[in-house]
């Protein structure tokens, strides 16, 4: 059995760990509220953008000449995956879940004999992917320095993607992120952004005749690059809310586990202290009896 001193040390070390996890939980909870608000505030923009694009693509009659960002290159050989993760750890299964989802997709792509290219956003994703897919990663981006998520960061990622598309470096682009549902549930998402998925077209029954100024295709070709940045921005917002939510529940669990451990250790400590006292008493009594 461990000595009393050792037990005492362990109890205090677990207690200080508990203090840290508790503090991290509090911080995550405060940040979560803000991130969640931001995510909710950001939704109207991307929803409206999507709506306009759907309306526009409905209006396009000449599919052949539609902008490439909408219709794709007509091929399906090179896939670009943008994997969005956090820059910090200690957030439970947050990063692992995205990576898992992404790896499934990667495997599928590679099994079909297609080429895979990866862009990682956030350092944790790079750390987890570099071992298996290190040679596939063509770019890694991190926004560790920027305190808040802002549109300009998303725009930077969007511009990189578009630039690569214009250079014909890939045919299909998908982004991976966690969608925030609530504090305990975050759903890893896979979203194809190039070519744009217009399968919702049928649901949108409002057949409106819009007046366009300038022409449809001109608006579309201006709007589509913006939409990519917007989708990435939305993913970043969702991701940050998910990260904080995931961290909060992970730290909550850690705090609870530390509490349980402290209880267990305290009982063990008290038992061995009592055992030591009893032993001493027996020694004294038997010593007195022998006289």
């Amino acid at each position: 059995m461990a000595s009393l001193d050792d037990l005492k040390k362990r109890i205090s070390s677990v207690k200080s760990t508990q203090k840290i996890t508790k503090a991290m939980k509090m911080v995550a909870a405060a940040k979560l509220r803000r991130a969640q608000e931001n995510a909710e505030k950001g939704r109207p923009y991307s929803d409206k953008m999507n709506n306009i694009i759907l309306n526009l693509s409905n209006g396009i009659s000449d599919i052949e000449n539609a902008p490439k960002l909408l219709s794709g290159t007509g091929e399906d050989k090179v896939h670009l995956c943008v994997v969005m993760t956090s820059d910090r750890g200690l957030c439970g299964g947050f990063n692992t879940n995205i990576i898992k989802k992404a790896k499934l997709y990667f495997q599928k792509i590679l099994d079909e004999g297609k080429t895979l290219k990866i862009i990682t956003v956030g350092t944790k994703g790079y750390d987890q992917l570099k071992r298996l897919y290190g040679d596939k990663i063509i770019e890694r981006i991190s926004f560790k320095e920027s305190k808040n998520i802002n549109y300009f960061d998303a725009d930077k990622v969007g511009k990189i993607v578009i630039e690569k598309f214009e250079k014909k470096e890939f045919d299909v682009c998908a982004i991976f992120y966690n969608q925030f549902k609530n504090v305990i549930t975050q759903i890893p998402q896979e979203q194809q952004i190039i070519p744009l998925n217009t399968s919702e077209k049928e649901e949108n029954s409002s057949e409106d005749n819009y007046e366009f100024e300038p022409e449809e295709d001109e608006i579309l070709s201006n709007l589509l690059p913006k939409n990519i940045s917007t989708q990435i921005f939305k993913a970043m917002l969702e991701n940050s809310a998910s990260e904080q939510g995931s961290r909060m529940s992970a730290m909550d669990n850690a705090t609870r586990n530390a509490g349980e451990m402290v209880d267990k250790l305290t009982i063990e400590y008290n038992r061995s202290r009592q055992a030591a006292i009893t032993k001493e008493l027996i020694e004294i009594i038997s010593g007195a009896e022998s006289l």
């Binding site: 505030k41 109207p44 923009y45 409206k48 306009i52 309306n55 100024e213 300038p214």
Partner: protein
């Protein structure tokens, strides 16, 4: 019959402004300014850098925008923009900052005519504000 309709301005971060007692909105569209009144035909248009004017019961408001898209449908006007500033509480420094970056862009050699046109527009508007 009332002459009012509703307008919503959203930027990527949040819903910037939402009003439902607007009588007229003037937006700097690509091919010239458009004034939108109630029961305008459905329209989607691109905006160039400029000033949006909103006339409502409560008065007139002006905003500077960097770019944008408008969609008008069923008497709902949505304006999507990446940067919007209220002219009332505008910051001179901020304006000069934007102006400076626009000038820098303009001096780059690899810009096309359309970009150049937009940047020229932007500078003109910014100068008029300052």
């Amino acid at each position: 019959m009332s002459e009012e309709y509703s307008v919503e301005i959203v930027n990527p971060e949040k819903s910037f402004l939402s009003k439902n007692d607007v009588t007229e909105v003037v937006v700097p569209a690509f091919e010239g300014e458009i004034g939108i009144l109630k029961d305008h035909i459905s329209i989607i248009s691109f905006l160039k850098p400029g000033i949006i004017k909103i006339f409502s019961k409560s008065g007139e408001e002006s905003f500077y925008i960097n770019d944008g898209i408008i969609e008008f449908k069923d008497n709902n006007l949505s304006i999507l923009t990446s940067l919007i500033l209220n002219l009332k509480d505008i910051d001179k420094e901020k304006i000069s900052e934007i102006q400076k970056s626009a000038e820098e862009e303009l001096n780059k050699s690899d810009i096309n005519d359309q970009e150049k046109y937009l940047l020229d527009q932007k500078l003109e508007v910014l100068k008029s504000i300052n």
